[in-house]
């Protein structure tokens, strides 16, 4: 355990240059990936809706995003009279920058096959293929998702008009609610992998699995439920469909980015897609083993890249699929799902995982410990249900007849 | 490497003094709450600095608990402020004397 081996011999000019190269490569990669993601989404949705999608700008319409960006660049950009100008200008960047920073802790490739330690050699320096490997790895991802809420909230408030304010308050309440479920799902993964650092997590997941051929991925180690919770909560956190109530055009006139146009709107738009890519990368790192995978022939890092992109592609496809097929959640359904379903489920499953681990550490038979834990969980959830139903009845009973619950 | 112990403490002391001044100067209850948070953060910084100076982990443990209690305090404080302001729009800190009982 420890940080990046790049820094183990002190920091000299070559190390600084390597870090700068990593930063530039990450930046360029994310921008190009966002461009391609927008194109991919439009093409795929067109395909699912039995139409062609953009196909004029460049081969297969790949340059469409670039064309849209140029168009947005030349649009008139104005600021409403009652807008608070400093915050109005700041808000898109508060949404945009955390999306970049989130990608810093994702290991993109490395020497993970056959018991490697996840490094590559660049000009004689061994390093991890990720921008930074802080010991608090995955907490940094949670922190950046928390900061992303500010962009949304300040955008709506600084527009100076009613509908963006309402939209942004709703959006930030949604994002804050699902952060709790995300955090609890992450704790499940931290429990089973035993570390917060992303490279160590991938190393644990690259090891031998339960029956020999089953990969030791996070999704298997945590028994699937935290994965489902994290995917749902992550989708809600990104304001992606089916949780995109707050920015849909049919609702609230476009939500928190109503008053934004041209470059600033483009920044919000790009930030959403970039967040999608980085969140998918986090999914892959936590639950699907990151770049880990067999490397039959050739250098291991090439295969790492291949596996990482294949797994990433699965999630990007999933996000577009959600958009094309699922209807939107209503706001109260969304809040109910976040607080009343996901959080208790994540908490209960975390306790179950902890029970399993303690039982196997102490030598208790798992066949007895786990069913007991399940019975306790069922009893607890039954108690909670009874209590909330009683509270609802008490609340309804104290209304005057014909009243409306606020 | 210069020893940064005293600069850290001076910074924390300065932040605490600024927070105290803000608490005494401003009348908006929310800004006063923010000044209290500022003072709490100055104290956190002091604890972490002393923990590092004494090579003791307890400094960070205390900060952990201070963070949690500060969160609980903000929740309750905001609930009180919301309850008062709803009934008396435009309330300032002097109007919180309705809590006197």
């Amino acid at each position: 355990m420890g940080g990046d081996p790049l820094f183990s011999n002190g920091v000299d000019l070559a190390v600084v240059l390597i870090v700068i190269v990593k930063v530039v490569v990450t930046f360029v990669f994310l921008l190009i990936a966002t461009m391609l993601m927008v194109w991919f989404e439009r093409k795929l949705i067109g395909d699912m809706q039995n139409r062609i999608g953009p196909n004029r700008a460049g081969p297969w319409g790949i340059m469409q995003t670039l064309a849209d960006g140029i168009k947005l660049f030349f649009k008139e950009h104005f600021m409403p009279e009652r807008a608070h100008s400093a915050v109005f200008v700041l808000a898109p960047f508060l949404s945009f920058v955390p999306a970049f920073l989130l990608f810093a802790i994702v290991p993109v490739t490395g020497n993970f096959a056959d018991g490697g330690n996840g490094t590559v050699e660049i000009f004689g320096y061994t390093t991890y293929v990720q921008l930074a490997d802080p010991p608090i790895g995955i907490l940094f991802a949670l922190a950046m998702s928390s900061v992303a809420v500010y962009g949304v909230m300040l955008a709506g408030w600084s527009s100076g008009s009613k509908y963006p304010l309402l939209g942004s308050v709703r959006a930030s309440a949604q994002m804050c609610s699902y952060e709790a479920a995300m955090g609890l799902a992450v704790v499940g993964v931290v429990l089973v992998t035993g570390t917060l650092e992303t490279t160590q997590m991938v190393l644990v997941q690259a090891g031998p699995g339960p029956f020999g051929w089953v990969p030791n991925w996070g999704i298997i180690l945590t028994a699937v439920i935290p994965f489902v919770i994290f995917v749902i909560a992550g989708t809600a956190e990104l304001n992606r469909p089916p949780f995109d109530l707050v920015e849909a055009e049919q609702e609230l006139v476009g939500g928190f980015n109503t008053e934004y146009s041209s470059i600033r709107f483009a920044l919000f738009f790009l930030a959403e897609f970039m967040n999608t890519i980085t969140m998918s990368a986090i999914f892959v790192t936590l639950f699907l083993g990151g770049p880990a995978g067999p490397a039959p022939i050739g250098p291991a890092w090439v295969w790492g890249l291949v596996w990482f992109f294949l797994k990433l592609f699965v999630f990007l496809f999933m996000f577009v699929w959600f958009r094309a097929t699922l209807p939107r959640f209503r706001y109260d359904q969304l809040m109910h799902l976040g607080w009343r379903v996901l959080i208790p489920l994540a908490l209960g499953w975390l306790l179950l995982l902890a029970t399993g681990h303690i039982a196997s550490d102490q030598g208790w038979p798992l066949g007895i410990a786990i069913p007991i834990a399940l019975v306790v969980m069922a009893a607890a959830s039954g108690l909670i249900r009874v209590a909330s139903r009683r509270a609802l009845e008490a609340r309804l009973a104290e209304l005057e007849p014909g009243g409306v619950v606020l | 490497m210069t020893n940064l112990d005293v600069p850290y403490l001076v910074l924390a002391g300065g932040l605490f003094a600024v927070g105290a001044f803000g608490l005494l100067y401003r009348r908006n209850p929310l800004v006063m709450l923010m000044c209290v948070e500022l003072m709490l953060n100055a104290v956190n910084l002091t604890f972490v600095t002393f923990g590092r100076m004494m090579n003791d982990l307890n400094g960070q443990v205390i900060v952990f608990f201070v963070l949690v209690v500060a969160a609980a305090e903000v929740v309750v404080g905001l609930a009180i402020i919301v309850a008062v302001i709803r009934r008396r729009p435009g309330a300032s800190a002097d109007d919180l004397k309705v809590l006197r009982g």
């Binding site: - | 850290y8 956190n44 969160a71 709803r86 435009g90």
Partner: protein, 228 residues
């Protein structure tokens, strides 16, 4: 000129300017944003002192939840208007007194830190550290001679592992009590925000627009305009 020195100065400047912004901003939202800047600077200062877990928790809890709650209340309740000094019960003397107190406080703190210097830390470190040191090591030595005693971070065991071990063994009671405190705080906040009696009754009939009187009045007004 080490990295820690540079980072300290930059973050100290940001923190102080942010604190000034909290106190001097006219709009509460600007105060909140300045507070965010200060909190970030303090999180980086935590990182600078090897308190990595605390830095992450500071960002997640303070900037990611507490300040957002405060901003919600500001935005939803519209507590935006400037304060009127004329409403002060004691007038401007109150604020001058506040300034004097704050300056005195700052003077006392600076005196303690500058003249006490590095010897203000007295007494033994608590026995609750790993291994435990039985002899006090003066600060000026800055010695890390006993590697396991109260160590904050080693290459082998990350900061968070040590912290977790300490919290869940030595401070488990405080941990449980704090958890109960959080629950009580949440229940209290829900109770205080509960509006049970202010239920709007649905009106019997919506006021309709085709009450004859209104139309007659409009017609009459229109005729007057036409005749004029």
């Amino acid at each position: 000129m080490s990295v820690q020195l540079v980072v300290f100065f930059i973050c100290a400047l940001i923190a102080l300017f942010g604190a000034g912004g909290v106190v001097w901003s006219r709009s509460p939202v600007h105060s909140a944003l300045s507070l965010v800047a200060t909190l970030f600077a303090i999180a980086v200062l935590f990182l600078n002192q090897n308190a990595q877990f605390l830095a992450a928790v500071q960002v997640i809890v303070y900037t990611g939840a507490i300040v957002i709650l405060i901003l919600f209340v500001i935005m939803l309740l519209g507590v935006d208007k400037l304060e009127n000094l004329a409403d002060e019960p004691l007038g401007i003397g109150f604020r001058v007194a506040g300034g004097v107190v704050a300056v005195a406080l700052l003077a006392v703190l600076l005196a303690v830190f500058f003249f006490g210097g590095r010897t203000i830390v007295t007494g033994k470190p608590a026995q609750a550290t790993f291994g435990g040191t039985s002899t006090y090591q003066p600060i000026s030595q800055q010695a890390v001679s006993n590697p396991q005693a109260g160590v904050i971070d080693t290459a082998d065991v990350p900061n968070i592992n040590l912290l977790g071990k300490q919290i869940f063994t030595q401070y488990i009671l405080a941990f449980e009590v704090t958890a109960a405190l959080l629950t009580i705080a949440v229940v209290g906040a829900v109770v205080m925000a509960h509006r049970s009696k202010q239920v709007q009754p649905i009106p019997d009939e919506p006021e309709s627009l085709d009450s004859g009187a209104d139309l007659a009045a409009i017609d009459a007004a229109g005729e007057e305009v036409r005749e004029a």
